[in-house]
């Protein structure tokens, strides 16, 4: 799948949609292998106001109360270089960035 550009559907939490000034789901162009990292890289390039809100500056560590879901799997603890399922890479299913339920 490397070398081509994939159109990846992405959903982000309400507050981040407000910050990025987008409504609902959107599509990102992701070059090369579709991994957690490549999707987040593309997301931050297109919406730089989100830098630091999903993963920390410099370390790129996932923020503790956010989760990454794809194809009904929680991929939050997987390597950022994990290739996402074909259904996400092909645009059939979205990549979900979810705010954890915390605080009641």
């Amino acid at each position: 799948m490397s070398g081509s550009v994939h159109r990846v559907r992405v959903q982000i939490p309400y507050h981040l949609r407000n910050l990025a000034r987008v409504e609902g789901e959107f599509v990102l162009d992701v070059a090369g292998p579709v991994t957690i990292k490549s999707v987040l890289d593309a997301l931050e390039r297109r919406y730089p106001m989100l830098c630091g809100t999903i993963r920390e500056h410099d370390t790129l560590k996932r923020r503790a109360f956010l989760r990454f879901f794809a194809s009904e799997e929680d991929l939050s603890h997987q390597s950022p270089d994990l290739e996402l399922p074909e259904a996400v890479a092909s645009g059939k299913e979205p990549f979900l960035i979810i705010g954890a339920i915390a605080g009641g």
Partner: protein, 393 residues
């Protein structure tokens, strides 16, 4: 006629309360950044239309916002929106607060005391306080948790730590208070540009006389029950410090317990709690026209963070402390169990000094007559974290 603009940070967004110099009728705008914790917002004294905001969230971390039109519209410094043309790269860093541990300019990332007495590494959590420069609208300081001070000279687009403070040799003895190990007070000396005062819970107050390169603890005279050594240089839980700019060597402090005063820029402190019904509290401020007139809001105790007997009261001293009078006119007489947090009191610069404070119950009170009478501007905001006021000619 002059106007006032009250900047209110709450647990769930920011609000701006505006009035003319009479301070009788108010317009309320907001919430801005709805749903986010707004620890502090403050306007530039040089350009009042420039307002800086600390926006934070347990989920999404720290953001930094600014306005160039007095809060009508907002932007993240340095961020270009998608509609500004080509995508922006490298990324924006207006919310990048990274401790400086570089060989060239920084200090090693040391440890501080944790709640259980063990040592714990410094970890950035949020910006508690923003302090715009007195001379340059693009220069602004940020007091953060875990305690450190950062500076931006480009309007908040990029931040650098002033590492001399965190790297002070006493760092391993600093410890978090109940709210975290926060640097919550920054006071710029209007007569000496190299002098800055800061305060940390729970480390104490510090001062630099060389523009932030080196810092010294200024805690002599403070007594804290929770420190075994009563003459300890650091470890004191200072809740807030206030200064009247006309008299920058005189400082007033609300400590965990005790109201304190210094007349030598913090080199020594004396207690001025006097006849206060309780000297626990968080806020303290000084009348803008009368440098010996001081305001506090006594809170029952460190175990019960609400006013005595359910009566919300401001206390005023016109003698620089020790002799305090109760101010009650217009404030709740019963069943009031709110708190007033450390950055939630401010004064304006009008001829008849206005005094403002906000509560964890969501009320913001104003006294347009120096404390004689009070009125709630709003009753039902989210819990108020901070109040600042701008006097606009």
């Amino acid at each position: 006629m002059s106007k006032v603009r009250v900047l209110v940070g709450t647990r769930k967004g920011a609000f701006i309360l505006s009035s003319d110099g009479k301070r009788e009728n108010w317009d309320v705008s907001g919430p801005f950044f709805a749903g986010w914790e707004i620890y502090h917002m403050k306007g530039s004294p040089v350009n009042p239309e420039r307002v800086y905001v600390s926006q934070t969230s347990g989920w999404f971390g720290q953001l930094f916002q600014a306005s160039d039109d007095g809060g009508k519209t907002w932007f993240q410094p340095g961020v270009k929106g998608e509609d500004a043309g080509a995508p922006q790269w490298p990324p924006v860093k207006s919310n990048r607060f990274v401790y400086d541990s570089s060989d060239e300019t920084g200090k090693p990332l040391t440890t501080h005391q944790w709640y259980d007495g063990t040592q714990h590494p410094w970890e950035f959590k949020r910006v508690w306080h923003v302090e715009p420069s007195l001379t340059d609208p693009n220069t602004v300081y940020a007091g953060v948790e875990d305690a450190a001070i950062f500076k931006s000279t480009d309007g908040g687009a990029n931040w650098s730590e002033m590492p001399g403070l965190r790297g002070h040799g006493t760092g391993p003895k600093w410890q978090p208070g109940a709210g975290g190990m926060c640097l919550h007070t920054i006071i710029l000396d209007p007569k000496n540009p190299d002098r800055i005062f800061i305060a940390i819970s729970a480390a104490g107050a510090f001062r630099t006389d060389d523009g932030g390169k080196t810092w010294k603890p200024i805690n002599k005279g403070l007594r804290s029950q929770f420190i075994p050594d009563q003459d300890a240089e650091v470890g004191h839980c200072v809740h807030h410090v206030a200064m009247n700019p006309q008299r920058p060597n005189t400082l007033f402090m609300q400590k965990h317990w005790d109201v304190m005063r210094s007349d030598d820029a913090g080199d020594s402190w004396t207690e001025v709690s006097g006849n206060l019904p309780t000297d626990f509290g968080f806020v303290i401020d000084v009348n803008s026209n009368e440098p010996e007139t001081v305001y506090v809001v006594p809170i029952k105790s460190d175990s019960e963070h609400f006013p005595l007997d359910g009566k919300l009261r401001v206390y005023r001293s016109k003698s620089g402390g020790n002799e305090w009078e109760e101010l009650a006119k217009g404030l709740p007489e019963k069943d009031c169990y709110v708190n007033v947090l450390r950055d939630a009191m401010a004064v304006d610069n009008l001829d008849k000094c206005g005094v403002y404070f906000g509560t964890t119950g969501g009320q913001v009170y104003v006294s347009p007559d120096g404390g004689d009478t009070w009125k709630a501007i709003v009753h039902d905001l989210p819990a108020v974290l901070s109040v600042e006021v701008q006097t606009i000619p």
